[in-house]
């Protein structure tokens, strides 16, 4: 009798655990999403629990750039959960102040047309907030190295697939 009782409890608890596992699994987005490992410089394009594509990328260099006037920038890729908020084909780069300071050039006005530079971000870009992009690169030899100013760089082939698969509002997870 005691064994029967225990067996029944085990059966019921097994079903409960299975139900909880399913509930947890259902928290993973059903739509495609990106996972970026900024330590290993790897990007995974996922759909549910299925890996669609794995790619080598480049993320923030962790360089803290200091310059005159006590200005400083930390080139770090932000961690957390984001959404695709902009999709750009043939994107132009709006050069921030640090890009001029790094090159020892005078910083133009924020509205200057000199700020806009074509053909440096590859053919496609996905924005995920605060000016951060996932984009292509001219510098493919640096892929796999933490070398960017905070954006995520991908090779052209990988970027095209990511761009075609990801739509507005799709999730990006960076850790």
């Amino acid at each position: 009798m005691a064994m029967d009782d225990l067996a029944a409890r085990i059966d019921s608890l097994s079903r409960k655990v299975q139900q909880l596992r399913s509930e947890f699994d259902n928290l993973t987005p059903g739509k495609p999403y990106l996972v970026v490992n900024s330590t290993a410089n790897e990007l995974r394009l996922m759909s549910g629990h299925t890996l669609l594509r794995k790619a080598v990328c480049s993320t923030g260099s962790y360089i803290l750039l200091r310059t005159y006037g006590d200005r400083k920038w930390l080139f770090k890729t932000p961690r957390g959960r984001f959404k695709v908020n902009v999709k750009l084909k043939d994107p132009w780069w709006y050069k921030p102040d640090w890009a001029y300071i790094e090159e020892g050039l005078p910083v133009p006005s924020p509205y200057s047309p000199k700020r806009y530079e074509p053909n440096v971000l590859g053919d496609y870009a996905l924005g995920f907030g605060n000016g951060y992009l996932i984009h292509g690169t001219l510098y493919t030899r640096f892929l796999g190295l933490p070398i960017t100013h905070g954006c995520v760089r991908l090779g052209d082939q990988d970027m095209r697939v990511v761009f075609q698969t990801m739509s507005h509002g799709y999730r990006i997870y960076i850790y």
Binding site: I10, F24, I63, E102, L145, P146, I147
Partner: protein
């Protein structure tokens, strides 16, 4: 539960009496009651079922906590010692899963296995109180740079000054739990696949994993993270 205990005690009493009887009566056996192999099998079966029930209770707590923490906007850590997996979750999505290559448990934890005390201990997520490591949380390199080209060439040569540091991360949680993550030094070293028991009454778990896994997990963990344990 009390019924099961009474049942077990009765069987143990019968076995003890039979042994005592045999010790003090080496002569011809009287036709007394004996414990059949069926009874012993039943005893084994009950023990096995009790362990299964206990493991399911732990698993229930593990998944319930994981679901509960999915509403938390920060990264959380899960250590599943049954499946030898350590995972970094963010809002219910497992982002990084790493295979645990070796496990060491302190005597303090091992003694509480299959005890109700352990169930109480792991019933809620553990809260991180402090963390220390042989590597930095953020590998910041401060510098003045003359040009981007110079910056990139410097990076190739100077990247990750901590490459030679052995990775050992100590995470101290509430309820006296200390979790240590260590890098596997080389494939030639044999790490304990089944938990190795270490002396000490404190509750300490050491997990061995690949260097990059330990780094990725440590650098993503916020100061006030939570951890869920399946043991």
């Amino acid at each position: 539960m009390m019924t099961i205990l009474r049942y077990l005690l009765a069987i143990l009493l019968v076995i003890t009496l039979i042994h005592l009887f045999e010790v003090f009566n080496p002569g011809p056996h009287f036709p007394v009651a004996t414990v059949s192999s069926d009874t012993l099998l039943a005893l084994d079966s009950i023990n096995s079922m009790k362990r299964k029930y206990f493991n399911l209770k732990v698993a229930e707590s593990f998944w319930r906590n994981r679901i509960q923490l999915a509403s938390d906007p920060s990264f959380i850590l899960t250590a599943d010692l049954n499946d030898s997996l350590i995972t970094l979750d963010l809002q219910g999505v497992p982002l990084h899963m790493a295979k645990i290559g070796g496990i060491q448990l302190s005597q303090g934890i091992n003694d509480s296995l299959y005890q109700s005390e352990l169930l109480d201990w792991i019933s809620a997520p553990f809260k991180l109180k402090s963390q220390t490591a042989t590597i930095s949380k953020e590998p910041i390199q401060e510098r003045y740079i003359a040009s981007r080209r110079e910056a990139e060439s410097q990076l190739i040569h100077l990247r990750d000054p901590e490459d030679s540091n052995y990775v050992s991360i100590t995470l101290v949680f509430n309820r006296n739990l200390t979790l240590i993550l260590k890098e596997i030094e080389s494939d030639s070293v044999n790490y304990p696949i089944y938990p190795e028991i270490m002396r000490g009454s404190e509750k300490m778990i050491t997990l061995y994993m690949r260097r990059l896994d330990a780094l990725a997990i440590y650098r993503a963990l916020p100061q006030n993270t939570s951890m869920i344990l399946n043991i």
